[in-house]
């Protein structure tokens, strides 16, 4: 009996130990990023442009702006289609076509990000014969799409049918029942899904490698190459210049901060827009 209790204690301690080791990397990475990167983050770093190799200083404004523009474009592509498809699935529920849509969402969800880069390259970069921010945002939009569809469907599925009935009984036409009763009731879940989707794509590098490509300049034209934070970190991290590596740490701080902020927002949003059913 005593032996059994000892085993119980030992294994519990082991589980605690392993769990503790599990969360160590996060702290190690965060501590390291902050230690190396925070020193360089200042106003010039945030608003300045990259300087040529050899000159010190310079900033990452082009990359911050680029990430924002590329994500925004992806947002405007993925959200309407994703929410629409989510509504469709939650309304239709079953049938062959619905099953096909679900399978396709699973396919999109499991596609490796680098493959999405190839797709956007073949669909847009190759025919247009130029790297472009737009092609990058298409790749990211495809990545974001299944997240938005899934979350929309899940949050609309739990809206009780009685609410729809109540609206129908008031003589409200179908599209208004969906737009004004069902969607507002499931809004918190939909918004959370969108924010999760954005935070998922904001840190992505692989789909941008041969689409948005990167650029040392501030560029507002979506049909030209554009910088982005993850791309800049990748390029600087592999460079031989200590100055650039330093800047890559700084950029990592900014990127992590942005993504944590998005995560936080999605949590607050879940509570803020939550509709009690």
């Amino acid at each position: 009996m005593k032996k059994r209790l000892v085993i119980d204690k030992v294994l519990f301690s082991l589980i605690i130990l392993f769990s503790f080791i599990t969360i160590m990397p996060l702290f190690l990475i965060l501590v390291y990023i902050i230690k190396e990167g925070i020193g360089i983050v200042n106003w010039n770093f945030l608003t300045g442009l990259p300087k040529p190799v050899g000159e010190s200083g310079g900033g990452i404004f082009n990359a911050i702006l680029g990430t924002a523009i590329i994500c925004l474009m992806a947002f405007f592509m993925a959200v309407p289609i994703g929410v629409g498809a989510g509504i469709y699935l939650s309304e239709k529920k079953e049938g062959r076509f619905v099953e096909l849509v679900r399978i396709c969402i699973d396919i999109l969800q499991s596609a490796p990000s680098i493959v999405l880069g190839i797709i956007a390259y073949l669909w847009l970069v190759k025919p247009m014969k130029a790297f472009s921010a737009f092609s990058g945002s298409v790749a990211l939009a495809i990545m974001m799409l299944p997240v938005v569809v899934y979350n929309t469907e899940e949050s609309l599925k739990i809206i009780p049918y009685s609410l729809r009935e109540a609206a129908f009984a008031l003589g409200v036409p179908y599209y208004k029942v969906i737009l004004k009763v069902v969607i507002p009731s499931g809004l918190s879940g939909i918004i959370t899904g969108i924010l999760i989707g954005i935070s998922r794509i904001a840190g992505e590098t692989a789909p941008l490698l041969f689409t948005a490509f990167g650029s040392p300049h501030v560029n507002l034209n979506p049909l030209k190459p554009m910088a982005s934070l993850p791309l800049l970190i990748f390029n600087y991290a592999l460079s031989p210049y200590p100055e650039w590596i330093k800047q890559a740490w700084g950029a990592s701080v900014i990127l992590c901060f942005m993504i944590f902020l998005l995560n936080l927002l999605s949590r607050i949003g879940t509570k803020r827009w939550k509709v009690t059913l």
């Binding site: 769990s19 996060l26 390291y32 509504i87 849509v101 680098i114 993850p230």
Partner: protein, 290 residues
């Protein structure tokens, strides 16, 4: 009897759903068509040959397949004790309370860190450490290579496996647990004899999904695997995975057949991840229905 606006609305959401199908189908078709040149050129040896020599137009992707499998498998092995421990801790011991929320948040944060930052950190912090170990062990101190990549990959998939395993463990009915306790079992005995057996299919599915993710993971691996196109001779050797080969070589590919070969790698990678993911999801869906 429906109004015109209702019909337009129904049509629009149908259109959105159709777009999803179009994109997925378009992806498969595009990848396939653009891989055709290399598939014709190489035939079966595209998968079976270990000779990847773009200069002489030889494209055998076996080194990448082997590299991908070893890296993913190794990372799963490394991560498993940690992710399962965390899942048991969260799903069994700490089911509520501040500590549980704290731990769950940390795991979510870990999942949110971009791949490129994991790679950057691995390159600057982990690689020198591995190099020192390799010097001690008296092997060529590359630093970069399969081993380092697997460690970084393991940290990246832990949150994923842990979350799924936790879900599955919390699906185990409480009355089963209570039945165990009522017989005088200790907590560990309940976990080992009741919870784990009951949840093992689901945990397996979670591991499968994590495997799919590890296979497709690109940036971190690209930065620390060493970019070498040969079948690795040891787990400390540099190599390439399918994803890292594409990332490293796509912009350098000059000839059409070289590009086609890399797209072919993409096609194989895509098929492998889709199949593994489908299997994982299928198992989980069946569990949820039960």
């Amino acid at each position: 009897m429906e109004g015109i606006k209702d019909r337009i609305f129904r049509f629009l959401i149908f259109l959105c759903a159709s777009t999803v199908i179009l994109i997925a189908a378009g992806m498969c078709i595009t990848l396939f068509i653009n891989s055709l040149p290399v598939l014709k050129h190489m035939g079966v040896s595209f998968i079976l040959s270990s000779d990847w020599d773009p200069v002489n137009n030889k494209f055998g992707i076996l080194p990448f397949l082997v590299g991908t499998l070893i890296t993913s498998f190794l990372s799963l092995l490394i991560s498993l004790p940690f992710s399962i421990s965390t899942a048991i801790l969260l799903g069994e011991y700490l089911r509520k309370g501040r500590m549980a929320i704290f731990l769950q948040n940390i795991i979510d944060l870990m999942a949110g860190i971009p791949s490129v930052i994991y790679g950057f950190w691995g390159l600057l912090v982990l690689v020198p450490i591995v190099q020192k170990v390799e010097i001690k062990l008296n092997i060529i101190p590359y630093g970069v290579g399969i081993f380092t990549a697997s460690i970084v990959l393991a940290t990246m998939v832990i949150p994923y496996t842990a979350s799924i395993a936790r879900e599955v463990i919390s699906l185990v009915p409480d009355d089963l647990r209570e039945a165990g306790y009522a017989l005088g079992a200790t907590r560990w005995e309940v976990i080992r004899c009741i919870v784990i057996p009951h949840a093992k299919t689901g945990i397996f599915a979670g591991v499968l999904l994590a495997f799919g993710r590890a296979i497709g993971e690109t940036m971190a691996v690209t930065m620390i695997i060493g970019n070498r196109n040969q079948i690795p001779k040891s787990i400390f050797a540099p190599a390439n995975t399918m994803a890292s080969a594409i990332a490293n070589q796509f912009t350098e590919a000059t000839s059409d057949i070289y590009v086609s070969a890399l797209i072919g790698v993409g096609l194989v990678l895509f098929m492998v991840t889709v199949i593994i993911n489908y299997a994982g999801r299928y198992i989980i869906k069946r569990l949820e229905i039960k």
